[in-house]
Symmetry: C2
Subunit: 365 residues, 2 copies
Amino acid sequence: MDKKEGFKSSLKVYKGIPQPPSINPDVLTKSGHKRRKKYSADEFVSGILAGNRTILSQAITLVESSLPEHYETAQVIIEKCLPFSSKSIRIGITGVPGAGKSTFIETFGLYITGEGRKLAVLTVDPSSQLSKGSILGDKTRMEQLSIHPGAFIRPSPATGALGGVARKTRETIILCEAAGFNTVLVETVGVGQSETEVHSMVDFFLLLMLAGGGDELQGIKRGIMEMADMIAITKADGANKLFAENTRVSFENALRFFPKKTSGWVPQVHTCSALANTGIKELWEIIIEYSAFTRNSGYFETFRKEQAVIRMHNTIIEYLNNSFYNHKEVRSLVPEIENQLYEGTITSYKAAIKLLDKYFKRHTE
Amino acid sequence: MDKKEGFKSSLKVYKGIPQPPSINPDVLTKSGHKRRKKYSADEFVSGILAGNRTILSQAITLVESSLPEHYETAQVIIEKCLPFSSKSIRIGITGVPGAGKSTFIETFGLYITGEGRKLAVLTVDPSSQLSKGSILGDKTRMEQLSIHPGAFIRPSPATGALGGVARKTRETIILCEAAGFNTVLVETVGVGQSETEVHSMVDFFLLLMLAGGGDELQGIKRGIMEMADMIAITKADGANKLFAENTRVSFENALRFFPKKTSGWVPQVHTCSALANTGIKELWEIIIEYSAFTRNSGYFETFRKEQAVIRMHNTIIEYLNNSFYNHKEVRSLVPEIENQLYEGTITSYKAAIKLLDKYFKRHTE
């Protein structure tokens, strides 16, 4: 299927989104090679608001760029898109190894797009720098969804620290929503810290688990169970169906031993099968129910605002941290101080003060 | 019972601890009032190592002091005591409201001292600044333990931020251990953050819960269940006994749904009654078993070393944080920036950069 054609035809479904502007994203160089046109921030914004995917993709590339000349333009684009980013539902998805996350997202995503929604799938994977991005990987693992006109799949930016990856994902959410994607799935790779980051940028957190007696929990990191608004036991098909159902009951009992959620929402446990395409519709309906429940109570809006404030403070703390630990003299002193701590010849407090003195260049004996 | 007498007689039990030095802790002023003698750091250290409680108490007061002239002496004392602080077991205790923490510590503490161990009971309570310390309170709520010659009870320092309170508690642990207290109970008031702090300073974490069907968990903060090495269902006596036993089974099932502990230890759930004095001995035996298990695997030592490194980094982060948020211009700008975030007119990242620019005094438009 021709992607541009598909996108245009899908536009008819989503009224109110104007046609893409007549900006030709590619111009030919003298040698006949295509060269990307350099858009102004305003051109980017109107292209995004018009739902032009090529321009959206280029804007995301700009957001992901670490070049200083890209930074300013990216920030202007994001800020202009910000007012258009609120009419959406953002869903975080993680799962234990083997839960079949990609297959689930493929089936779940196709259901959601089938409901007439526009879906963006983003990934937070601080380890993806190893493979320098994985566009092909993502397109392969979600074969049908990746070519679906109502879906937009974007892999994790292939850059450095988690904080950076997470920020770029947050900013990408804004751009996608401004481009008309009203449903955003943010997938994490299950390395613990990334789930906390994702929890701070989504409205609803879905955890995929396997049927089992508890041992399968070895793959799950601290605190993730407590974040879940819904647990889906995957692969509930064939001989595994009854087993999955028993696991569902166990999880429901276990969840009673977790602290109450501030949203007032009681986390749900359900079984599903991406293979047999069962339980998928039900999961989506619960997310819709959650959205209605929290929008009604006002929590939905309040939580998004709180998330923004929390993320600002997290960004500050991360920056202060980096500034400290990348300080040349601090960096060269840390191993020696840590050694003293291991040998028990210095207190943690004194050790901290010694390093802080180096950073703030105060006199120390 | 005369406390000094009691202490002296208890010394006979604990061989290897020398007699207190002939330092008279109190000298008379001209007006006949007692005045504290000013010890040198070395006098403090030898007094502490000799197990002199009056000197220990004064050293702790020095550690808790916020006066700059006390700081240097306190740090010298702590560092000299550090090598004597490793032959101990440190137990963190917290509980849901109504679990009867004080009564439990009284009974449990009397059992431990009855086993010939020397017990220090410390409290981490960042809210105690309101009551400006609670020595009398603590002595009242642990009536027998507070006058027991083998026990030393010290309430939370009545000063400011949690980080400060926690640091002082850590340093007090070192002094108590150097004074021969080989068992340390660190009690928290259950405000969430303080448990995490205490978890970073103890070897074993005990959680006190009430019998119930899950609703009683409302009083427990996020992440605390996952920290527990043992859960004790208290008040398992009389008509409540069977109920407590059922709750024990539920908790055991629920714990299977928590991530495995890095120590390799499988958390235990037991019932006990401080009133009927049942289950207390068993709890203590499990702590001994834990100590043997983790010392044998090497985890005990490794964990203490890691705790010291983690605490150093936490202290640094806290300091950087305070330095930032107490910065005059930052402080006056925060409300305005948070407002912009609430109105959705600025991204979290841009908001953070604006504040960081103020702090680092860089030029900003």
